[in-house]
């Protein structure tokens, strides 16, 4: 390994500059704490990303506008798998994330759901998965803080009690979605406006959403919050940010404290960074990778891994979908991409039998996808023009996200032979969709069919059982728990094994429920920051 050439230091060293690390850093820096953020990837710039998207030949690939730096590779699956993640099966785990300042929320949909209180008690209530060592009430103040930091619009609590109203009123639905909402009525399929990290009005110096319908892969006007904003706010609060710094090892002393993080720069030169406290926020894949790669004589299984839980319990949200053409015009693509969903069956006794679920209206502009299909069939001329118009006007795509359970056999490990270009072991991913998810798929078919019928759907096409898309909600790989023998971090987000190592973000979540994980990961990072503040005195 290369010799260290330079030493840096800070009171708190934050590893990873995604929305979790960025906001935790901002919170700490705002309190006058000396913070250094280390980010493996480059500085990302919105204008350049928009330009790359518009010039991309693979516009359906949300990664294509974000080329990886050679020293910070990232998963990419189009036009073919770049094999950064080594798939060990039996099922694929096509997790995608960005390595660069701001992280993966550059290309999220902005859905900012809270968990529900029962999501924290899955084992106690339904004899499935794990309980959290904290309750909803414990996390609620941090949900609120996160919502006001990033700016969340919404109108109802959706079963997650609130101490304060949403910072902003809801983003309006399109006229066509309002018609659908009326059609769906007030029963099981009641359509709700989802909480979104998207400005319905100007907020925190950023403009209101003007319906560019490009939330993924890039909001061109920053009406949708992303981690790059967190990083800039952290900088403004006094934090230092070092991009292109690939942390590859954590160094411990004889007492088990973390004394340094070692990173490689773009010239493959190694540097050593010391600190009082280390906050690991490099997402649910790269964080456990670093912990496992830090194995030494004192930590033979890796740092923070006395429980052997690092990298295990990998969860995401397997997704199923249905497409059809509604009787009345729908014009998906007007307004933001994920404005509304059916949320009233996210919890219930059924979770003893199958995964929690909800249904999203996936209002992405469908014109490109529909046209690709028609062109591939050789349709042209007037027939093509008519069909593009008719299909685009009536297209409906519903998606359901299913709750995975924390299975220790779903895990990432380090390859013993394959390394990335900077010499760091690549990850092997072991993943299996459980019957718990397959049974949810079966139940969801009934719901999909009912919704399609209400909307007079024709040309109904369901995704296949057992074949699920991935939703980039990487959770569980450094699970939180009360027992150091079975978990990685405590309720304070502190590693059981190392007094000055904290871990924030979605990777510590013991359950993932059926909603997007980002707001919960962000709330956990802010909770982590509050404990770091206390620890520093």
């Amino acid at each position: 390994m290369m010799a260290d050439t330079k030493t840096l230091s800070a009171d708190v060293v934050v590893i990873g500059s995604g929305i979790a690390g960025g906001l935790a850093a901002r919170r700490l820096a705002a309190d006058g704490i000396d913070v250094l953020i280390l980010e493996a990837g480059p500085e990302l710039n919105r204008g350049e990303i928009v330009e790359r998207f518009r010039n991309s030949a693979y516009k359906g690939d949300f990664m294509d506008a974000y080329p990886a730096a050679p020293w910070a590779p990232q998963p990419k699956f189009q036009p073919k798998d770049n094999n950064y993640l080594i798939q060990m099966g039996p099922d694929p785990y096509r997790g995608m994330y960005l390595r660069g300042t701001g992280g993966t929320t550059w290309h999220w949909a902005g859905q900012a759901f809270r968990l529900m209180p029962n999501d924290f008690r899955l084992r106690s209530l339904y004899d499935q998965g794990r309980d959290w060592p904290i309750s909803y009430d414990d996390l609620e103040p941090f949900y609120t803080e996160a919502e006001y930091e990033i700016g969340v619009s919404g109108d109802e609590d959706l079963g997650s009690p609130r101490s304060r109203p949403y910072p902003m009123p809801p983003v309006a639905l399109s006229a066509e979605l309002e018609t659908i909402r009326t059609t769906m009525g007030s029963g099981r399929y009641r359509l709700s406006i989802g909480p979104q990290a998207r400005n319905s009005v100007a907020y925190a110096g950023r403009a209101a959403c003007c319906g560019n319908n490009n939330c993924m892969p890039i909001c061109p006007v920053d009406a949708q919050y992303h981690g790059g904003i967190s990083v800039e706010r952290a900088r403004a609060a006094g934090a230092r940010v070092l991009a292109n710094a690939v942390v590859y090892r954590l160094e411990t002393d004889a007492r088990g404290n973390i004394v340094a993080a070692h990173f490689l720069d773009p010239d493959k030169v190694s540097h050593r960074v010391t600190g009082k406290i280390f906050a690991l926020c490099a997402n649910g894949m790269e964080s456990p990778r670093l912990l496992l790669n830090s194995a030494d004589a004192q930590n033979p299984g890796g740092v923070a891994n006395r429980s052997d839980m690092v990298g295990r319990n990998l969860m995401d949200h397997p997704g199923s979908s249905v497409e059809f053409f509604a009787k009345d015009p729908t014009w998906f693509g007007r307004g933001p991409m994920r404005p509304a969903s059916m949320n009233d069956f996210r919890d219930g006794a059924y979770r003893r039998d199958h995964a929690a679920m909800r249904i999203d209206m996936a209002c992405t502009n469908p014109v490109r996808t529909l046209t690709e299909r028609l062109v591939a069939k050789g349709v042209y001329g007037d027939a093509l023009n008519q069909q593009i118009r008719d299909q685009a006007a009536h297209y409906v795509l519903l998606k359901s996200l299913f709750e995975m359970l924390p299975d220790p056999e779903n895990r990432i490990t380090l390859s013993k032979t394959a390394k990335d270009a900077w010499g760091i072991p690549r990850m092997e991913v072991h993943y299996r969709f459980p019957e718990y998810v397959n049974r949810a798929y079966d139940a969801c078919l009934t719901d999909f069919a009912a919704v399609a019928e209400k909307l007079g759907g024709t040309g109904i096409t369901y995704s296949k059982r057992g074949v699920y898309d991935n939703n980039q909600h990487i959770t569980g790989t450094m699970v939180m728990g009360a027992d150091p023998a079975t978990s990685v971090v405590s309720a304070e987000c502190r590693a059981h094994d190392h007094a000055n190592l904290y871990i924030g973000g979605t990777g510590v979540m013991p359950s993932c429920a059926t909603v997007n994980s980002t707001l919960t990961g962000t709330a956990l990072a802010l909770k982590m920051a509050s404990h770091i503040r206390l620890a520093l005195g």
């Binding site: 036009p79 209101a208 003007c210 685009a392 006007a393």
Partner: protein
């Protein structure tokens, strides 16, 4: 105009705007008026524009899109010009579905790129696609009004809360 310039502009090309190249005008359009990534593009020959008109049933074709597409197809389909009239005649005889072109692979390959280029702004095989246009493609022009190309706004915040405007009439089927 470069492709990058194209993607930066905030005004959408739709209908018979100045950058749309009607067939009659194209016939006397001087070469070298469009560039792509800094390269001067030749104005497509009338036979190419006639083919495009046949494939789209007479939709207006953006001038820069036509020039970029012709340059791209010329580079990747040797002898393109010798097939233009034959392909046009074949499409006129096929009545809306070009599946039977599979018996003529050289024509089918040109046609696949032509149609994808016009309607999607993309050419080439899956493993090596090329982007030749974005905002000006025919699929987006067809739904202009209700929908804007992704990353462009169709109006002020909340404008989508009013019913989608009506679509412009299509050219009559030929």
């Amino acid at each position: 105009m470069t492709h990058a310039d194209l993607s930066r502009r905030g005004v959408l090309v739709a209908g018979a705007a100045a950058s749309v190249l009607p067939l009659a005008l194209a016939a006397c359009h001087s070469a070298g008026s469009d560039t792509h990534n800094g390269t001067t593009l030749a104005t497509p020959p009338v036979a190419f524009l006639t083919l495009a008109q046949t494939a789209t049933n007479g939709l207006p074709v953006d001038a820069a899109l036509a020039a970029s597409l012709y340059a791209d197809l010329s580079a990747h389909h040797p002898g393109l010009d010798t097939h233009l009239a034959e392909l046009t005649a074949a499409l006129r005889a096929l009545d809306g579905n070009a599946d039977t072109l599979k018996t003529r692979p050289e024509l089918a390959a040109i046609f696949a790129d032509l149609l994808s280029g016009l309607y999607l702004g993309i050419t080439g095989p899956l493993a090596a696609r090329r982007c030749i246009a974005f905002e000006s493609i025919e699929s987006y022009a067809l739904v202009a009004g209700p929908l804007s190309p992704p990353s462009y706004a169709g109006g002020a915040p909340g404008s989508w809360a009013t019913a989608a405007p009506a679509l412009a009439p299509l050219p009559k089927a030929k």
